[in-house]
Symmetry: C2
Subunit: 373 residues, 2 copies
């Protein structure tokens, strides 16, 4: 499946630009193996693209969002589409290179924790024996998660659900039916599926699904054309609020970038989905609470001298846990370990990613520092 | 009073930098008189500084803000201070050059409307006869206002209230008592005054004043050391909400820049002034309403095909009105005239400053345009 082709040929990079473009990639090491990955889209190559032993693992494309279901869906799709749940975890690509299964984060980093989890959760060998040139694209979800922990009642620690299967080099997706067939055959969990629709009927169906997901506090949906090539996402009000609550619990780390786009999503969702002004007023009040109350609590926590940051728990192979903690520290993140214990063969660590910007800014403003405008 | 000194000497510009620095100034013409003004601080010279016939009119300094009264006030002042109302209009400097009274906006533009208004409202000749080297700094308030119209029950059309008197060239302020004495002697209206305090007692006094102003929907306070040299501002929750309501009535013109700083003001004000969690929840709900409801209404207005923008009414000398409208159009603002009539000798025009960014963005998103994230 093209494993021996040169990375530059695969990525369409002219020979004379090789060095230049390779310089845009970060260099890292995983299990003694040097590799390169692109943390931001550059030179027309997707963010997250990695080169491991000369082999290309193509980045996962960003999925566009619509602010209105009608006419957003009809504008974007001209044939049947499938509606699947957008799960709240982190995007992982799983590929096998030289016999080793590896887990890549969105930015193309081979994450030791993710790799260890997918090896443990997936048993993907039967899949990669049959399809060495493909990669599994999915969401790593669950409460024990170093990036975006989120509770799903059915997930105790962490789980991996496939939402796409793509050619590792070209990034070309399988058709939806084929992807499902492959997952069933190789016993790979898939994201929940809400059915297939014509564009004209999809709007009503998605409205109903979104209403249910919103009540359950779930994230939203991804729509995909049956050939796999077109995707579109749309999220619930519960997610907009949860994002804002999280962002404003650390206002100086996340607040500014988070607030405006999520307000816009709520504005257009209200115009499209609210049936009364009372519903919009309720939505507005909940938006305000999602913004202000966590920020007030963050200021009070800093005032009390408490550490502010994001709480995570991870559990797994001790070496993988150690490598994850080292990686986070190398990224400049200050960790405060809250609990560190053995559970059988595994190590379970609860830690806070300390939010320096929020702590420092809040302290300064509480001390009377002025703002010059 | 130094009127014959060279502008470069007054501004401390070395001879060899003259041309370079002059190039940073915009060139304009008012009543046949060419002048230059600095729309942004550059080369250590304040924004709004103007050079008219070689004479310098110094820019008005920005007043720092505190997010907490305690210890913000005590940190910033070491002696007695006066508490005055911050009025909601636009900042104007009035100076006399070669016998002509001129009104300068914050950016140093000689505004024909402002100039005509201050000539009509102030009768400042007795002041400038006595003090040709000073300038009056004040707020032009009232509903008939091309920049920030705001209702004050006592103001029918427009009024000018002095909050500072400064040396026109150096920008050095008069002491507060002197400023008040000069205003009384020359019959110049002043901003409302809430008394003088030691820093230690000012916090409680300002809390009480802010509570009253908040209930009346007024903007806030400016604190000033008795020698005039130190200033500090603090605003009401009613103002944060009114700003957000205005900004989110035109979300793509103002929303992004407005939202985060005002949320911060509310966060710290809540931590300092709210006595119960219920009060903070109420504050949060009102914040959410101030953000979301005007934006929903703006989207609905665009959906109905209505013009969105800021409504203004101006009234005055027909030549000044014509010059103002030309100026706004030259600034690239699209005006939609709603009403244009004569009232005695005066011309009264109601117009909308059309908000292209909000109209275009809302139309596009309603048409299903995708957002790539």
């Amino acid at each position: 499946m093209g494993d021996d082709r040169d990375w530059a040929t695969v990525l369409g990079v002219p020979d004379e630009d090789r060095e230049d473009i390779l310089g845009a990639f970060d260099a890292s090491v995983f299990e003694g193996r040097r590799y390169r990955h692109l943390t931001d889209a550059r030179h027309g190559i997707e963010r997250g693209t990695a080169i491991v032993d000369g082999r290309v693992v193509r980045g996962f494309p960003s999925i566009p969002r619509t602010l209105v279901l009608d006419p957003g869906i009809a504008e974007h799709f001209d044939g049947r589409l499938t509606v699947e749940e957008k799960r709240n975890g982190y995007n992982v690509r799983v590929a096998r290179i030289d016999g080793d299964v590896l887990g890549f984060t969105r930015g193309g980093y081979i994450c030791p924790y993710t790799t260890s989890k997918v090896r443990e959760l997936l048993d993907p060998d039967s899949f990669f024996e049959a399809h060495p040139g493909l990669m599994l694209c999915g969401e790593l979800i669950g409460p024990e998660n170093p990036y975006t922990p989120h509770e799903y009642p059915e997930v105790e620690s962490a789980a991996f659900e496939v939402f796409d299967i793509r050619d590792r080099e070209s990034g070309r997706p399988l058709a939806v039916d084929r992807r499902r067939e492959f997952c069933e055959r190789h016993d790979l969990a898939m994201v929940p599926n809400f059915g297939e629709y014509d564009p004209a009927e999809a709007t009503d169906a998605v409205r109903e699904v979104i209403g249910d997901l919103d009540r359950e506090g779930k994230e939203g949906v991804v729509l995909q054309s049956m050939d796999g090539t077109r995707q579109l996402k749309y999220t619930t009000s519960a997610t907009h609020r949860a994002d804002l609550e999280h962002a404003f619990s650390l206002p100086f780390d996340y607040g500014r970038d988070f607030v405006f786009p999520r307000i816009l999503r709520e504005v257009f969702q209200a115009v499209e989905l609210d049936r009364t002004n009372g519903e919009s007023r309720q939505r507005a009040q909940e938006l305000g609470e999602a913004i202000l109350l966590p920020a007030i609590e963050a200021v009070r926590a800093v005032e009390r001298g408490e550490t502010v940051g994001e709480d995570h728990t991870v559990r797994g192979d001790p070496d993988a846990i150690e490598a994850l903690l080292s990686h986070l520290r190398e990224m400049g993140i200050t960790l405060e370990i809250q609990r560190d214990r053995r559970v059988g063969d595994e190590r379970a660590v609860s830690f806070v990613k300390v939010s320096q910007a929020t702590r420092d800014n809040v302290e300064n403003y509480l001390d009377g520092q002025l703002i010059d405008e």
